[in-house]
Symmetry: C2
Subunit: 347 residues, 2 copies
Amino acid sequence: MTPKDPPNTPKAPAQSASISIATVAAKAGVSIATVSRVLNGLSSKFSKATQTKVLQAVDELGYRPTVAARTLRSGQSRLVALLASNMANPSMASIAAAAEVALRKSGYVMVLCDTHDQPEQQDEYLKEMGSHNARAVVMLGAVDSPELRQLAKSPERIVFVNRHAPVPIEGERFVGIDNRQAVLDVAQWMHQRRQSPMALIHGDVRSSATRERVDGFVAACKSLKQALPRSHICFTPGVSHLDIGYLGMKQLMTQKTPPLSVFCTSDLIAYGAHRCLHELHPGFLHLITLVGFDHSPLNDWIAPWLHGIRVPYESYGEAIVSALDSDKPLNLLLPHQWVNARTASAL
Amino acid sequence: MTPKDPPNTPKAPAQSASISIATVAAKAGVSIATVSRVLNGLSSKFSKATQTKVLQAVDELGYRPTVAARTLRSGQSRLVALLASNMANPSMASIAAAAEVALRKSGYVMVLCDTHDQPEQQDEYLKEMGSHNARAVVMLGAVDSPELRQLAKSPERIVFVNRHAPVPIEGERFVGIDNRQAVLDVAQWMHQRRQSPMALIHGDVRSSATRERVDGFVAACKSLKQALPRSHICFTPGVSHLDIGYLGMKQLMTQKTPPLSVFCTSDLIAYGAHRCLHELHPGFLHLITLVGFDHSPLNDWIAPWLHGIRVPYESYGEAIVSALDSDKPLNLLLPHQWVNARTASAL
DNA sequence: AGAAATTAGGTAATCGTTTTCCTACATTCT
DNA sequence: AGAATGTAGGAAAACGATTACCTAATTTCT
C-alpha cells in the first residue's frame, strides 16, 4: 500500500500529507458520508460497529475535520467574536479572559477585536465576522453603527455585555449586573457612615451602564435625603477614565465644602482620584473615602484603600455562553457584592 | 432583471440573499475567474477597464468574499492565534491588545487563547489552529509540548514573544527585549545608590525571560562586586506572581540583615512585595526600594512608588507582525527603558 | 404473511472560492 | 510575412466537508 513509508513511523499521527475525511473513510472501509455522520452524531444512521470502526480510524490517523470545508458547506462556523470597546481597561481584559475559557469549553473559538469605541472600526469588524460566518458577536461596549443595526435583526447572534444595545433591540441577549441595586448599596453604605458631603465622578453616560449608575446614584441620594449638589457631580469628556478621576477630584477639591466620600463609577476613575489626592492634597488622603466600581482582583494588592462594588467578572464567561445558547431573549444579571477597603486609611 | 425588487432600495448594500462572486461577475459582465483575479490583484490578467467594472460592481453590491471558501481552496487563512500562558497577567493583556491592533492593520484576524501554561491546553489549541489553517501562532509564553515540536518544523509560522522556544528551534522568530542589558541597568542603578544589601525575588525560571533576568542580575552583581547572598534570592514555586512577591518579601524580612533594595523580575511580584511590607512591616515601607519589571502604564497611577524597567509593550504589535512577515529567522529586541518611581517614598 | 416503517449506508450535489488550462487576439521579433 | 511572445479572459476542476436522495435489508404492525 504505502511503499516508501519511512520504517520508523510506528504509530505517530503523521498528518504529513493532508489527511481528509476520505482517508478515514478508506481506512474504516466505509463511505465518506458515514464518517461524517458518525462525527456529527447523526445516530440512527449507523450501527454501533461502524461507529467503532470509524472512531478508531479517526483516532489512529489523528484526523481533524478541516474547519473551512465544514464552514463553507454548513454556513456556520464556531467562531465567536468579542468586540471590546477598550482593551486597555482591565475589567474588559478580565471579561475577555473569562469569556475565552468558557467559549472554548463549549467548543467555540474566540476572536478578539478592539473597536476603540469607534463605529467605523466596529462596523469593519462586524463585516469581517460576517464573512467568517461567525456564530455570534459579543459586544463589550457597543456603539451605534449601521452594521450593528443590520445584525440586530438576528438578535440570537449578539450578546451585549454590561452596556445595553445603543438602540433598542427586541430579543436582546444581555449579560451584566444590576447597576441600580449596586449603586443603591453604595449610597446606603455611604449614608450609614454619615460621610457627607458626598460626591460623584462618572464616565461617559453614552454607556448605558454608566448611565444607570449615575441616575441610580442620584436617585438613591434623593430617596435617602442625602445632599448631592450638582457641583459635586463631575465628568470630564474626552479623556481616559484615569484622567476623568484625576480631573474630577481636582475640581471637587476646589469647592468650598470638599466631599468626604466620593463614588467613582469605575475603578480606573477611583485610581485617578486617588492619584490626585496623593499628588495635590496628601493631607486629605486618609480623610476622604473613595468608592469604586469593578474591584478587579488586583485591587486587593495595589489599591487596598478602595471600597467598592465587586463585579463578578470571572462568572461572565459562563453567562455569555448561556446567553449565546439561549433560544429566547435574556437579561442575565449576575450578583454583585459590596467590598470594604482592606486598609482603614487611604494609604 | 430584478422583478420583485422592493422599490425603496436605492443603493443600500442589501446583502440579504447570499451574494457571491458569481453575482459580482454577472453584474460586471465578466467571468467568475476575472473577478477573482481583480480582487487578488493578479494583474496582467485583466485590463484597466475590466478592473473598474469589477470594482464598481463589488462596491455597489457590498460584496465580501466568503472566508471559508477562500481558505478551503487556498489552504491559507488570515487567522493568527495568540497563545498566552496567562491572561490574568496585565502585561500579557497589554501585548494581546497591541498585537490585535497591529495584526488587524495587516489584514489578520486574531484568535485569543489562554493556555494557562499547560502543555495539554497548548496542544489542544495548536491542533485547533491547525484545522483552521491558521497563518501562524504567536506564543506568549510557550511550554514544551508535542504539537509545538511538530509545528516547529515550520518556524515561519511561529513567533515567540518574550519567552524563547522551550526547545531550540532553528529559524526561530523571536520578539522581546534585551533582558541581560536591562537587569544590568537595574544592578548598576542599585549599585550607584549604594542601597545594599540587595535582594532578588523572581518567578519560575522555566521561562527563558525570567532565567535571563535572574542569571543576568546575579552576574551583574558579581561583576559589580555587589554582595547578593543566596539567602537573598527568593522564589516560591506553585503560586501566582503576586504571592511570590508577598512570600518572598516575608522571607527576606526574617533575615538578620533585611535588604534595602529588592529587584523583582515582574511588576506583579513587586506588587506582592509591597503589599507584604504594607501589611507586616509598614515602618519599612519608605526604607526599602522596590524595583519591578514591565512598568505597565497603570503603574504611574496605582504604584507610583515602583522603580523599574519599562518594557515597550505598545510596540510589540508591530514587532510581532514584522516577525510574522519575515522570511528569515529573526531576533527582535525592542528598546527598554529605566523608569524612576514617581514618588520618593514607598508610600 | 404482506405492508409499513425503521435502520444502515452509499452516491452525488453543493457550498464559494482559486487556479490550471485553454483560446483568441494583438504585438514584437527575425 | 510568419513565428514568438504577451495580454485578456473564459471554462471547469479542485479544495473537504455536509446532506438530500436513494436503495436494501431488517423489524414491526395489522
